[in-house]
Symmetry: C2
Subunit: 332 residues, 2 copies
């Protein structure tokens, strides 16, 4: 048995500030972007695209960090590992996590790259198209992984995005070993289909080894991971290898399969989708918070759906409404 | 006769990025703040208060800059003078104005102070309480005033906030002379009661000299300027000295008095006041855009009320909705 945990969850993720602008479909087309996707860009492209974008709003982001922000708002004890630079955007990111009570003290990179930013174009349909300059974030070294904290957290939560840069990939691999040696659970989110395109074999090997206790995916990602076009076939294939699989399906809601037992939830009704940025991240926040509270999977799914709904009804991936009150009003 | 103008308006104002966080009344009380006011703070106090604030959103701000952003969105030709530092927040401010088509190329300060920021606490009633660290903004020197642009703009628009720092005050005084020598109009917004407390005699002297063609004030400011407690008495006193006086009255709407002739408008109906940040700035944007379009005062007031309504229905002082469409739907 592992000793009592200091944190309900610790996450390793990219430390990113989002730069969010409204855009029409013509700009998405002119830039040759794939609506709804995420792509990595370098500093030069970031400058060029920024100049082509309309006026923006800045808000802390990062997939796993968004999830933690949601969980912290729901009362969970959270810790974060991720690297900003010692600059104004880095201070913004750090402030916004700490202000929620998240334990976060990965040292800021003092030179070499600025804080990561994600240029997000939100089209009138509410879809977000992301262009990420990873900056200091992808230079996260293994030495920055606070192993004592990982060992003292019930769940280690990792985002697939960090699997791409070699430095952070090695750090993640080490973190998994630390968590497992300490008898903790490991949760993983696949993040984006392009990550699976590049690292599918890695992920399939990790899953086969039994290293992931909880896996989050959306419909596209689960198909890519399973290499199966049919949704149910893909789900069945992956669910057979992971103790708890959670798949989000946008307007069709979400499902969870725990050791063969399936739960499902509808998407929450919404008048207008303002901005889908962070929808998956906040779904994970609600689900994991429910799990930490010992709720049945069906309720965890409902919590995920409520949090996702709140975030797509606003601009940006950090909730400006009271998530806890929204959950309490529904589930008590 | 002045030659045809290149710009409908040129503004001189503080170049500020807003940092906006939800706050409860207890924080306002604990910090000893006056709800709804603006106060100036130094770098140390800015760090301390930021640490006490919740997670925030960053958005370009600055009173006159907000007004220009609104006017640019309404199709006016705008130019801005104001000083940021060469840092990330400075780039954000510069981007957001240029992305709207505003001509803005005051050189960024390369050392000595960071870009100004305004820490804004928004209480559940939608009121904003502002704490401004002026940084590079208040170091605007007279040499930075683009005199050729002022001479080539129909209206020079100045914010009272810039009257406070000695450097920018001298720059503003020179700008007024340049505009008048070129046969242009000068518009002035009183900004905040504390500015009038400090510089009332200056303002009264400028008005007596006939240097302001258009004056914007709210109820508190007009009383402070006139040194009259009764609203109508204060309005009558100032209106006798200014060709066009515009007074905003919050929920009670606004009035304009042009050479003794009075127009009035009700406030636009709104379901929920989300955040009053920028309400006065956007009222001025709508009013001045109407003026530039040659509309009667009553329509200018309506345009101001529509723009103010849009901005208090959202977080932050830069419109995320289509102001032009809102105006067109009402006035054509």
């Amino acid at each position: 048995m592992a000793p009592p945990a200091r944190f309900d969850i610790i996450a390793i993720g990219n430390a990113i500030v989002d730069v969010i602008a409204r855009a029409d479909d013509a700009l998405i087309d002119a830039e040759g972007l794939t609506k709804g996707s995420m792509r990595l860009i370098d500093a030069v492209e970031a400058e060029r695209l920024y100049a082509a974008m309309g006026p923006a709003v800045e808000m802390s982001g990062g997939s796993a960090a968004n999830t933690l922000a949601g969980m912290a708002a729901l009362g969970q004890r959270c810790a974060f590992i991720g690297q900003v630079a010692d600059d104004q955007l880095g201070h913004v990111f750090t402030h916004d996590l700490r202000a929620l009570g998240v334990a976060y003290d990965t040292p800021a990179l003092s030179a070499g790259a600025p804080t990561a930013r994600c240029l997000i174009l939100v089209t009138p349909d509410g879809q977000r198209t992301m262009n990420t300059f990873l900056g200091a974030s992808h230079l996260l070294e293994q030495a920055m992984i606070a192993e004592d904290r990982i060992a003292a957290s019930d769940i280690l939560y990792l985002e697939g995005y960090l699997w791409d840069p070699p430095l952070s990939r090695a750090a993640m691999r080490r973190a998994i070993d630390v968590a497992r040696e300490a008898g903790r659970k490991v949760a993983f989110t696949l993040s984006d289909a392009f990550i699976i395109d590049r690292h599918g074999p890695d992920f399939r090997a990790l899953i086969a080894e039994g290293l992931f206790d909880i896996l989050f995916a959306n419909e596209v990602e689960i198909g890519a991971l399973a290499e199966e076009a049919d949704f149910e076939t893909a789900v069945a294939k992956v669910a057979a290898q992971v103790p708890l699989l959670v798949v989000t399906r946008g307007e069709k809601g979400a499902i969870a399969i725990r050791n063969g037992e399936r739960s499902a939830v509808d998407a929450e009704p919404i008048d207008q989708v303002v901005d889908t940025t962070g929808a998956g991240d906040l779904f994970a926040a609600g689900f994991l918070a429910g799990l930490a509270e010992g709720r049945p999977d069906a309720e965890c799914l409902t919590m995920g759906a409520i949090c996702a709904r709140e975030i797509i009804a606003q601009v940006g991936p950090r909730a400006q409404t009271d998530l806890k009150a929204r959950i309490a009003a529904r589930l008590g």
